[in-house]
Symmetry: C2
């Protein structure tokens, strides 16, 4: 099953997954969109700035030829920045319509259209929805490459395809649970990055573990509210792709989104921070999309709103935090 | 309202709360059960081994006289180790029956009887249940004394008393939400300490943030299952006293329970660790009680069971972790 797999995107996560699938006995082709970067990857078999201790397994084929990468595979894995997904899949539209499955690893929402990745892919290439699976959960690449135990969830409409993906991705140190709540899994993975920016702001302002626990609780609640308004199931946000990923992202030194928040709180400007980063901080675009979704669905999202104001309207981080902490005393849940 | 308050127990949390109530304008008497310790506290106004940077506000009265401490107050705050609550309240039974409210801060379950603190107090002193409130949530004393923002929840049967407690305890840097799910708030605060021990074991074994996110997710799920079986509301475990306190305890360097797990994983023996600690690690007794409750209510609690086996049956921590990670691949939630 799925003897040959293409992984599109040679960022940290794409490379980690390429090695994982290779270890599971698949023939893996890894596509890097930038020709010069691809040439360097051929030579070095790693990206020293991203994953210094990592080496791509020799049998993973690296290519800059997108059509060639997907030509003879039955499974295509998208490990792209969320805002790049549409342009990449459009280029191999006809071929993607023929594969047995498309697995998405990106965590984001398309700017402007406010579409989830599954909607982008299904819209753009007329993929039957049951051929789409998202794999999400607490899974920093920096740990997966070191074989540190990691647990994720695969979600899709077709139980057969989800179980196949579960089998193909599973490894003694990488466990894959399954879910049929695709919307919930996609939203949890995306929206948690907004809360991670807020957690970074809290870190930058010198707040402690008590506040972080409270922030995550309130963040989980507002993400869940939006998810339910968008027809996800509340329970999904209590799972690995919800609270699990939220916790990991908000505490990890590997999280770019948390890092962005921390530097914002220390007074740096967003464009300066972003131009420094080696990688995409998905949470920045997601803060804008999440804010727009909260307005569209009329869901109260105080943390998302404050992160939006700090990132895009120049509101001082300390003032945003005061406004969050200063809300009227009220019932947490009082029936 | 509640002009005079007695705080029973001069551990870190008792001292932090004594200062907080004093700052809110209450006349506070702090009772320390050990005469020699009380004498030292009189002199030093702190416990250097516990909170080196802290000083009790001069107006807080410190006493070793329990009957005197509660003689003229309208509110009694219990900041005692969970296993000490029954013996202390019994000594001032008649007087406690007359006060307007008893606020519990302890997070634990009575060994043997498997009773929550509210049950112990109500049973033992015939307190009308509506006079009891529990304050719980992510609130390490080490941060509260430094005025780092903290948010907790007050839960009880009487909305009037809960709102009074909310007013008395609130401070610009200490926010109090309210809840009417006393069972859920008590269980969340107690059971999370078992998961904190498991998180410490994971830390000690060198696991990373991915695994910690997964462990917290699964831990929250099993605590919630037991809570629901014991007539708590599931939503409470998604709140400050559930996931909020769980996150804080599992990531904090201040958590004694996490610390116990870490040292167990490094091969130390439980009696040696406990004899070293300056304070009570509530999670150790709670692991036993939680394990017994899971059997009584026939609720599957894999993490609690493994922590129990490691602490009390000598199971090697690495083996317990393998057993947790090695469970059959299954649906996270599949409707």
């Amino acid at each position: 099953m799925f003897d040959a797999v293409a992984v599109l995107g040679a960022g940290s996560w794409g490379m980690a997954i390429a090695n994982l699938l290779d270890a599971g006995g698949r023939l893996v082709t890894l596509w890097e969109f930038d020709a010069a970067e691809c040439e360097r990857l051929h030579r070095l078999r790693t990206i020293p700035e991203k994953l210094p201790s990592f080496t791509l397994t020799p049998s993973v084929e690296v290519t800059n030829d997108l059509a060639g990468a997907v030509a003879e595979v039955s499974l295509v894995v998208l490990a792209l920045p969320a805002q790049r997904v549409r342009s990449v899949v459009t280029r191999v539209k006809a071929r993607l319509g023929e594969v047995a499955g498309v697995v998405n690893l990106s965590k984001g929402i398309e700017a402007g259209t406010l579409k989830r990745i599954s909607e982008v892919v299904v819209d753009e290439i007329d993929l039957p929805p049951e051929k789409f699976v998202t794999v999400s959960g607490p899974s920093h690449a920096e740990e997966v490459i070191r074989d540190i135990p990691t647990t994720v969830v695969a979600a899709g409409q077709s139980v057969q395809l989800v179980e196949s993906v579960q089998t193909v991705f599973s490894h003694s140190r990488f466990r894959v649970y399954k879910s049929d709540d695709l919307i919930g899994v996609e939203l949890g993975g995306s929206l948690k990055n907004i809360i991670a920016i807020a957690a970074g702001i809290a870190d930058g302002l010198g707040l402690g573990d008590n506040a972080k626990g409270a922030l995550l609780t309130r963040g989980l609640a507002e993400i869940t509210r939006l998810g339910v308004a968008m027809k996800a199931r509340a329970e999904t946000f209590a799972g690995l792709s919800g609270v699990g990923d939220l916790v990991t992202t908000c505490i990890s030194k590997h999280s770019r989104n948390r890092h962005v928040g921390e530097r914002i709180a220390l007074g740096e400007k967003l464009p300066d921070i972003l131009s420094d980063l080696q990688m995409v901080a998905e949470g920045v675009e997601t803060a804008r999309s999440g804010y727009e979704l909260s307005r569209r669905h009329q869901v109260e999202m105080p943390i998302t709103s404050e992160v939006y104001r700090v990132l895009f309207e120049g509101k001082p981080a300390a003032e945003a935090l005061e406004d969050l902490m200063g809300r009227t005393l009220k019932a947490e849940i009082w029936q």
